[in-house]
Point group: C2
Chain length 336, copies 2
């Protein structure tokens, strides 16, 4: 049997447990060309919240009563495809389920992993889509110069932690924003950022801007934005002329909260650039990004942390936790 | 005697007549190397409002009790400089006064105009800073492709009118936003835009967005933004994926009004780029821009309109009128 989580109903604000439903489906027989993958880990990411809404966004909406979308790593346990053998480790978009049956000929659906010193779940984080997102947004959108100051929100997360480390490796000052003393400690002590600000200690924009001012004595040249709302407002108050903001996420508004940008005139006054991007639209850069990220992880120069929930049944609650800041590092669900 | 307008006090909101003071100063004798220019026309531009505030912006603040800053065209009436002769027509930053005495050796302070078929005041508008602003923001920031739809606010103004015409010449659909039926008529009938929306007929964002939707059946690919506030909010609701916004001005907020951007998440959802720019930081492109603009005006392919106030005494009121939308086209003051 294959346990699956399907979208039972669309959330109106924060996602709730009742929006999901656990179902069990029998494992079908393999047809010619098909591959059966047993998932070892499922990735939970904030973007999934957007898919749960009805209607047009940059991606198609998640359909009701279908298996929730999501990246997975696992192992081929049965194959009638010439491209895959039993035992192959693969990364794909297998969704919130224990097994996936798919056509082995479908280009790009499954990527075979070389045996590497890097643990399998890292392919969902630091050497997967989140890591590449950090790489692309920092290097291609912000394009930092040595000596510049780069700020990143959700700095302890799967994306933010990579942004700051790559910025440091490029000779920049890296300043994180995260929620709570433990995350801030990890950001500085484990990920090696120059400083990290606990936004929970700064409930208003002015106070947060003052803390950013202290942490960024030469102002902010680049901002990798994962949160939006008052976090972004405060960052903008400290931006230098010609600052670049890579808009990667606005988790502050994912559940429908209004998140106006208070002072867009600063974009003009400081001749700033704000650019939104989605890493899946830049697949041509993935090999280059993966090459660098894999090398850095293998060399021990790029650190990562994971929060791991156990069992497919735990996925909805772990997902809900993303929006409450409960995870520290990449949120995964272990399925084995 | 030289009549001058100085900044008497800093406005707290809208500029008022009392913020300015008319003074008379005797014309000094020329020292060796100096040039005396009699101004024929003074340019009034929204950016001057920003200079009237205290404190840091991208430019130095206008000093109290000093002649208001401003671009001027005029004629050399006395010269002890080898670089200028009596009768030379010149464009410079002479300020709100009838005459300017300056060092003829100061590089870039005065630009001599070739005798051309283009009338002198046009060098303050369509073939001056406003025209180059339009050229730079449209071609370098938005970089429109043939067939795209370009929207510009303050479409009847010195900058906006050039944006739409250049967009049309590049094979784009040009849609203006302006205040009142007469301006909208001029934008379409004289400047040749495909459509123009009267924002006064659409007091809320939703209604304005609906009108934009009707005028832009294929959505908006580029926005040259001069106004901000609810105008920009409505434009963003109609932007296509990968739309570019060149942020040139936000006159809606020049007098201190709050002008939050309501839905910055659209920058992410639509992978947009918003970029602020100031044309005086891109002087390396001015010759190329002036060459094209001058040619187009000479060929009759680039139209412009002027609102002309008479006499230096009228400058404050004409300037105040800029923020009330009283001008139609480039606002000038004739000083001869």
């Amino acid at each position: 049997m294959n346990k699956q989580i399907v979208l039972a109903s669309r959330p109106t604000g924060e996602p709730l447990a009742g929006n999901f439903r656990l179902v069990e489906a029998p494992l079908p027989e393999l047809a010619a060309g098909e591959v059966l993958v047993r998932h070892h880990y499922l990735s939970l990411d904030p973007y999934m919240r957007g898919r749960m809404n009805e209607g047009r966004s940059y991606a198609e909406a998640q359909r009701l009563n279908e298996v929730m979308v999501g990246a997975t790593v696992g192992e081929v346990v049965a194959s009638r495809s010439a491209h895959f053998q039993v035992g192959d480790q693969v990364v794909g978009m297998g969704g919130w389920q224990e097994y996936q049956l798919l056509d082995g000929d479908r280009r790009g659906a499954l990527r075979k992993l070389d045996r590497s010193p890097i643990p399998l779940p890292a392919y969902l984080g630091v050497v997967g889509m989140p890591g590449i997102t950090a790489w692309y947004g920092l290097l291609q959108v912000i394009a930092p110069q040595p000596g510049e100051t780069i700020v990143v929100s959700a700095a302890c997360g799967a994306v933010g932690s990579v942004v700051g480390q790559l910025a440091r490796l490029r000779g920049c000052r890296a300043v994180g924003i995260a929620g709570g003393p433990e995350k801030c400690r990890v950001v500085v002590e484990e990920f090696g950022f120059d400083a990290c600000i606990d936004y929970q200690q700064h409930p208003d924009t002015r106070s947060l801007a003052a803390a950013l001012g202290a942490a960024c004595p030469r102002g902010i040249d680049g901002d990798f934005e994962n949160v939006g709302g008052r976090i972004l407002d405060a960052v903008m108050l400290r931006c230098n002329s010609f600052a670049r903001i890579a808009l990667c996420g606005m988790i502050a508004g994912y559940n429908g909260e209004a998140i106006p940008l208070s002072a867009p005139q600063l974009i003009l006054v400081n001749r700033m650039k704000i650019e939104g991007f989605i890493v899946s639209e830049h697949m041509e850069r993935w090999p280059e990004a993966l090459h660098e990220l894999t090398r850095l992880v293998a060399e021990g120069r790029l650190k990562y942390r994971e929060s791991i929930a156990q069992g497919i049944e735990s996925a909805p609650d772990a997902f809900i936790g993303l929006f409450k800041g409960r995870n520290l590092g990449k949120q995964l669900v272990r399925l084995i």
